[in-house]
Amino acid sequence: MGIEILGLPMMYYIAMLAKVLVAFVFVLLTVAYATYAERKIIGHMQVRLGPMRTGWHGLLQPIADGVKLFFKEEIIPSQASTFAFLIAPLIALIPAFITFAVIPFGGTIEIMGYKIPMQVAAYYDTTAGQVFDVNVGVLYILAMSSLGVYGIVLAGWASNSKYSLMGGLRASAQMISYELSAGLSIIAVFMLSGTLSLTKIVELQSGMGGFEWYVFKQPLAAFMFFICALAEINRTPFDLPEAETELVSGFCTEYSSMKYAMFFMAEYANMVTVCALTTTLFLGGWNGPFAVAVPLLGPVYFVAKVYFLMFFCMWIRATVPRYRYDQLMHLGWKVFLPLALVNIVVTGIIGYFI
């Protein structure tokens, strides 16, 4: 490993490329098959079969959908603001895909004498002898998810259609309200961990056979964060921006072809990120039996936990009816916001006495 670029060995760049591709393909495939899984699971919950025609039990359905949308006609409404209309799906999609970078999906593996932490934005420094990651990982995720709101508000505004504008406005007000509550509810976790680095938060949850998980120490924070995060990414039962019965399709009413698909992908990619972040913060991340001894088990546990939470999201969708808009805003501002603050104060006082 004689060659070094910018003070980093060649292996670093190979590992970086591999991790970026693995993370990107993982999110992409999960997004594609989440759409299929959602239809299938909700189908079975409603005593239907779901997609059955394309492939064995409809397994090729996401590919068929993708190809169909790819070949569809692209429509840019004559009254739309073209630039904003074109860039809105990109602004929605990019933050959704890059948030995954700071989430650790496994421990450190060693290939050819070079240690590689299984996290996209992290590397092992041979001179310092320790792993460096983005030490404000959580803030990075919050910052990126606060950008997703522009994609939606721009889509609504640029379309110049009444349904789109109303959908976009509703969505943005909902997203910023719940972003606030979600951001406040996880502060209690950092009071316990004393760090914002996701790698260290996972390490702190490793002991006691799972009873060190923050979901047991901060059940209220875990519950509030998951609900707020669902509302922030406009999942059911908070999918008011796309309430078909009132707003046709909300902010993406005027979109067609791949641009529509990109909003769809952004929504599911956000769901993956939210489930991955909940896993990391509250469910011990990649920790599990023998995960430290056998490093390759880490990603398996991580993916299993993420998929369980995603199944839970779909289960909620099949069970709970949609909220009304005023109830939704009341819940965010009058219940979760004060509750998160109270939780911080209570955690502070209890933590001082123990």
Partner: protein, 167 residues
């Protein structure tokens, strides 16, 4: 390499800053401003200040710009409603010129190109940037921190009064 990266980011920052004031459509101006904030965040990362970078994106790009975009949508500014004011452009360029001279003088005098102060890059790496900021803020600068809460309270009251006419 770092200099090259800095040059690229600076170029993007300057181009998007120029677009902010030259775009016909106010929404596109707002988008360019978000891009400028992003470049500023990149500078913070390059200066070993990741916490500042995250806060820059969260507060400026994520919160304040949402308000500005809402305001543009609320006022519904027509694209052709903006007029040219040549005397304002003149005034602006005079102010800009003197600010530029001021900045150059300050840069030459203070040797700002070199890192100054007790906090070194190694310290930030070992202790953590957010920890250092927090330690200073909650001990040395305690009074300004508490005054911030009063400032925020005034802003909350002010925003409600502005938004609700019939109080």
């Amino acid at each position: 390499m770092e200099t090259l990266f800095f040059a690229i980011v600076s170029l993007v920052a300057i181009i998007s800053a120029i677009l902010v004031i030259t775009c016909k459509n106010p929404i596109n101006s707002a988008l360019s401003l978000i891009m400028t904030f992003f470049c500023l965040a990149t500078y913070y990362v390059m200066l070993d200040a990741p916490f500042m970078a995250a806060v820059q994106v969260m507060v400026y790009a994520g919160a304040i710009m949402v308000l500005i975009v809402f305001t543009i949508m609320l006022l519904n500014i027509r694209v052709n409603a903006t007029q040219k004011h040549s005397h304002r452009i003149l005034l602006g360029s005079i102010i800009g010129f003197f600010t530029l001279i001021n900045t150059i003088v300050l840069l030459v005098k203070s040797q700002a190109a070199k890192p100054v102060g007790p906090f070194t890059g190694d310290m930030i790496r070992n202790i953590g940037h957010s920890e250092l900021i927090g330690r200073e803020m909650f001990t040395t600068f305690l009074l300004p921190f508490e005054i911030t809460s009063i400032l925020l309270l005034v802003a909350i009251v002010g925003s409600v009064i502005l938004a609700k006419k019939n109080i």
